[in-house]
Amino acid sequence: MHVSMFKKLPEPGTSLLTLYIDDEPVEAEPGETVAAVLLRPQRPASRSTPVNQSPRAPFCMMGVCFDCLAVVDGAASTQTCLVTVREGMRIVRQLGRRSVHA
């Protein structure tokens, strides 16, 4: 059974935007990083590694571990902890080795 690892504290009156993780719409707040959003869905892994395909999720949130890599609006291996969410952004989980076409 998979449960959500993280949740947001409620704050009334905050505006929301929508982005897509593997084509599924997800709500986020302006100013958040993509990595923070990737930690909320029930499916916890945000990528799998190129070496052994083992699952990984954001770990350091400060740009030094490179475990939060994902395809962001077509750009593969993007450090999602350094990217701020935008309306309509499309995130694709990066599974295994990145493709040269991505």
Binding site: H2, V3, S4, M5, F6, K7, K8, L9, E11, E29, G31, E32, T33, A36, L39, R40, P44, A45, S46, T49, V51, N52, S54, P55, R56, A57, P58, F59, C60, M61, M62, G63, V64, C65, F66, D67, L69, A75, S77, L82, V83, T84
Partner: protein, 466 residues
């Protein structure tokens, strides 16, 4: 023509902001670049937008204090470019940047490395599983996203940060399953030689004691004397296993584990520039050798803030002031008498701010098995190499960290040794019965951050012929 500045400052945390303000007061042209979307560094992440909110309230006064400096920084007249990474610095100085898929080289007479610190990589079995993060990551999620662990969280490690984060998390209504305290017993005895400093800085000590009181009042379970732990699960963290002094092992259910074993200076840029570094035994890390103005062994390259040695946000600001004065002196904006007169009270403040540090180092040494992880522990997260893999390579010959890199690919993944460098050095040192300081560190090569061929191609190199 490439853009040209008197000074390029790398990092917009406390040190970078304060350096820029000081340089602007001396009328120098300054570019500040930073990876994050807003100024503040890790300690004051998102402080401009969060300080005045309920989240700013629960994060505390020290966090909110960052908003003033950020406002001064915004008004100081330095060019500031966010979400920008530095991937190479060449003599001259040319600082190679990338932002939004576009690369650029800018020129600077002086470069200030204000890249701060990172959490000390502290490998344990299962630390790559989704659900395992650092305490720093947990705190950043609280600062930037008002995000907390959904279920009661396990905290493991030692140092002031876990205590602060637990207090903040409790104020936010979060739940803590337990705190695996890995600091070796006898902390106060080790700290005793600095009792004088502690008394003089009672306000600082008092803050820590207040956090501990909040944690105790909330009834958080503190498991003392934890010597080792491992994270287990299928695809994500499900079970946590910990061992206490005496060998007693306990298994508990867990969905999120936040671990922390102190912070270490970010040294990659200075190492790549061949600045000399020394091993700091008390903080178990490398730190650059600096003169009284924060200048490295490479004239024109300075280090301000925690990158110079861990001292905290206030000390980082003061070090930034000193670097600004030093550059003012070296650029002829200040006479040597003027610079010395201005620096004297700043140095006194810095001394006072660093007085407590040796005591904190003595209280919270990193857990012993960080340096000697079990064979099944992944040490290089990127290349998924275990301590056992590395030990096998060490047994082949008598290699240093750079031969291990060549043999195994440890340190050759995207993080470029930021997570495994110290562990590899410790494993090599242990196998060869040498001091880790003698064994050395990876040779750090460009690009300092991964760069796509497209980004490289976007670099305007026509300027070379002009």
């Amino acid at each position: 023509m490439s853009r040209r500045f008197d000074v390029v400052v790398i990092g917009a945390g406390p040190a970078g902001m304060r350096t820029a303000i000081g340089l602007r007061a001396l009328n120098m042209t300054v570019l500040v670049v930073d990876e994050q979307a807003a100024p503040g560094g890790q300690i004051w992440r998102a402080v401009e937008t969060v300080a005045a909110t309920p989240t700013g309230q629960l994060l505390g006064a020290e966090y909110r204090a960052g908003a003033d400096l950020a406002a001064q920084f915004r008004a100081c007249g330095a060019a500031y470019e966010a979400q920008t990474q530095v991937w190479q610095i060449e003599p001259g100085w040319r600082v190679f940047l990338k932002c939004n898929g576009q690369a650029e080289a800018v020129q600077a007479a002086h470069v200030v490395l204000a890249t701060g610190a990172q959490e000390r990589p502290a490998p344990f079995p299962g630390w790559t599983l989704p659900g395992v993060l650092t305490v720093g990551a947990g705190q950043i999620l609280l600062k930037t996203s008002r995000q907390i662990p959904a279920e009661p969280v396990w905290i493991a490690g030692s140092g002031p940060l876990p205590i602060l984060y637990m207090a903040q998390l409790l104020r936010a209504g979060g739940k803590i399953a337990g705190w695996l305290d890995t600091s070796p017993s006898g902390g106060w005895r080790r700290a005793l030689p600095w009792a004088g400093a502690a008394l003089a800085d009672w306000a600082e000590i008092g803050k820590g004691l207040t956090w501990l009181r909040e944690i105790r009042h909330a009834g958080v379970r503190r498991v003392r004397g934890v010597t080792a732990f491992r994270a287990l699960g299928d695809g994500q963290l499900q079970t946590l296993e910990y061992e206490q002094a005496g060998g007693h092992v306990t298994r508990v259910a867990a969905s999120v584990l936040l671990a922390h074993e102190g912070v270490v200076p970010s040294v990659h840029m200075g190492l790549a520039l061949n600045c000399t570094h020394s091993w700091n035994t008390q903080q178990s890390c490398l730190a650059p050798d600096l003169d009284i103005w924060g200048q490295t062994s490479q004239p024109g390259i300075y280090v301000a803030g925690d990158g110079a040695g861990i001292g905290g946000a206030k000390a980082a600001c003061v070090r930034g002031e000193l670097v600004a004065l030093g550059i003012g002196l070296h650029m002829g904006r200040l006479s040597s008498q003027d610079a010395a007169a201005r620096a004297a009270p700043v140095r006194k403040t810095l001394q006072r701010l660093l007085r407590l540090r040796p005591m904190l180092d003595a209280l919270y040494p990193p857990r012993a098995d960080i340096a000697t992880p079990s064979d099944d522990t992944i040490v290089c997260r990127c290349e998924e190499l275990t301590a056992g893999d590395v030990r096998k390579a060490v047994a082949i010959a008598a290699p240093g960290p750079n031969q291990i890199k060549a043999f195994t690919r440890a340190g050759m993944g995207p993080c470029q040794g930021r997570q495994c460098g110290y562990t590899i050095a410790h494993i090599v040192a242990a196998a060869q019965e040498r001091q880790v300081a003698e064994v050395g560190f990876y040779r750090i090569r460009p690009p300092l951050k991964p760069l796509t061929l497209g980004e490289l191609a976007s670099l305007d190199i026509n300027e070379e012929s002009t």
